[in-house]
Symmetry: C2
Subunit: 342 residues, 2 copies
Amino acid sequence: MTLRTLAESLGLSPTTVSRALNGYGDVAQETRARVQAEARAQGYAPNPRARSLATGRAMAIGHVIPADSRHEIVNPVFADFIAGAGETYAAAGYEIVLSVMPEGDEAEGYRRLARSGRIDGLLLQAPRPADRRIALLAGLGLPFVVHGRASEEAAPYGWLDMDNRRAFARATRHLTGLGHRRIALLNGPEGMDFATRRAAGHAAALTEAGIAPDPALVRHEPMTEFYGYTAARELTGLAAPPTAYLTSSLLIAVGVRRAVEEAGLRLGRDVSLVTHDDGLSYLPNGTPGRPLFTATQAPVREMGREAAAMLLSAIAEPGRPPRTRLIEAEWVEGPSTGAAPR
Amino acid sequence: MTLRTLAESLGLSPTTVSRALNGYGDVAQETRARVQAEARAQGYAPNPRARSLATGRAMAIGHVIPADSRHEIVNPVFADFIAGAGETYAAAGYEIVLSVMPEGDEAEGYRRLARSGRIDGLLLQAPRPADRRIALLAGLGLPFVVHGRASEEAAPYGWLDMDNRRAFARATRHLTGLGHRRIALLNGPEGMDFATRRAAGHAAALTEAGIAPDPALVRHEPMTEFYGYTAARELTGLAAPPTAYLTSSLLIAVGVRRAVEEAGLRLGRDVSLVTHDDGLSYLPNGTPGRPLFTATQAPVREMGREAAAMLLSAIAEPGRPPRTRLIEAEWVEGPSTGAAPR
DNA sequence: TTGAAAGCGCTAACAG
DNA sequence: CTGTTAGCGCTTTCAA
């Protein structure tokens, strides 16, 4: 079932059929109706490969996974983000092409991807403060949007980020407001832009409260329960242990809760905890209205939808200056905080 | 930079250049070397769209995400599986096309995807015991491999699954061997094939030990910490509470641990727990050699690699009877079990 | 309002 | 061993 066979069975030329189907003007109402009816009846679907070759548009967006990755797709944040983006793409007729980028020559990988013509745009995730991929992609002329930011990148580029600094400052302020002065930060991996911003927010709020940031209370690790557990164990064992914890993910918080309880303390009474939470469907912070932890919550799925929309519009209007969007995290009160330090 | 311009700059015909580049025979050694050198020098990369149209192969594999999904990509199991599969695809020059399937007319969605020519094969995840998608895809003639099985599907089809029944029977047997007689099963969502098989393994091992399965001790829910927590709370409150727990995921186990500890019991002493663990990089069961929980462990990433290989070979040799592969879970001893019931 | 013709960039018979 | 010739299925000028 090709455009041509369909045209023949209608006694029309492929041209007319194509125009009728693609909603171009200059086709008689009646002809268009006939064509559409026949197409539906025969179950005709245009071949995207051919269409793509003819139009030059791939109708697909690239998302990249580093091959070695423990931080990308495997982190449910990215999966939820992609799921959200996928909804937007699907509505616009775009597919997602997931590219597994071999380790090593990253630049060449991106270049190949751009040249390949398989995708019309790229969504970049997990940027570092001085991420080279941004200059690279800008140079390649492939439209892209970054999920997160590269804080040290001077040139303008499109991004959508959560206000990490503000969320962590707010959480810290909440804790200083309760009288806490030793507030540990169990952050994500060092070198990630979001972790840098979170640390900055924490430090700023401490300084604001007249507290000198204590490097011994700030940790950077992959965001797993085990890390939260071991870090909190060590911290509870300090001569002057923290009275409050700020954690970068629910899993870290789970680990902290465990260590704290093993140390004979109770969360929300002896020790306070605020965590960041990406609102993951797979890792819910309790049930709605009944959170497990006090948290700053980001709508990751929604962010995926929105980033995708930004990218699609960048593709549709090349030349436009890139847009940026900063999302505010919500504040969710749970039982894990509220207590003044003992 | 097209094949033609490259050919012109070499003074050869596009045909020869194409053959030289694609490793066909019938090209002089020297010509081939010259062509390859020039291609590299000019940074030539063939246009996959054109190649795809000419060959009829898309060089891409489809993975489907239901639009409503809380069970698919958002579950890190699927993400890790896809990451593994992606490695295999990448090595063979294939991309992953992630299709977000709108809710509702699923069948039509798959049909469209098959007709679209965007993909050469499909990897199906999260099957139900009587999953209609299998007959549908078989009818469409699109090669596919199922991650998991549809137990009630009679016709042969390719699949790769973990031996859920056996893993859960083994875990249960381990617990009955310790003398436990009230062994709760906190399973995954009802209706998923894997959950059905896990329940069957649990029941079989109980029966084998002369214990009548107690429906009150078997639960089905999404695999979150909250579920593990609430279910275990209820179970610890029973007149005759379970002395051991078998859980379908690490997050459930985390919830159980919490409920159990809140009830004043200690895991591994007062109460035993064995969990299933998919070996996720994002949700590690402790660190290697130091697990948090005793577990049956499946190598999900590796399964992804292998399923992808099966699919690629099904694509390469159409007509071959479909292959199937059953993966054994490993047994990992942790501190959460080992105790006889009190 | 419709159709003919010329590609999009590549592969694959078929000759030479 | 190399080149000529047709397509793959669709879009898109340009004429009619």
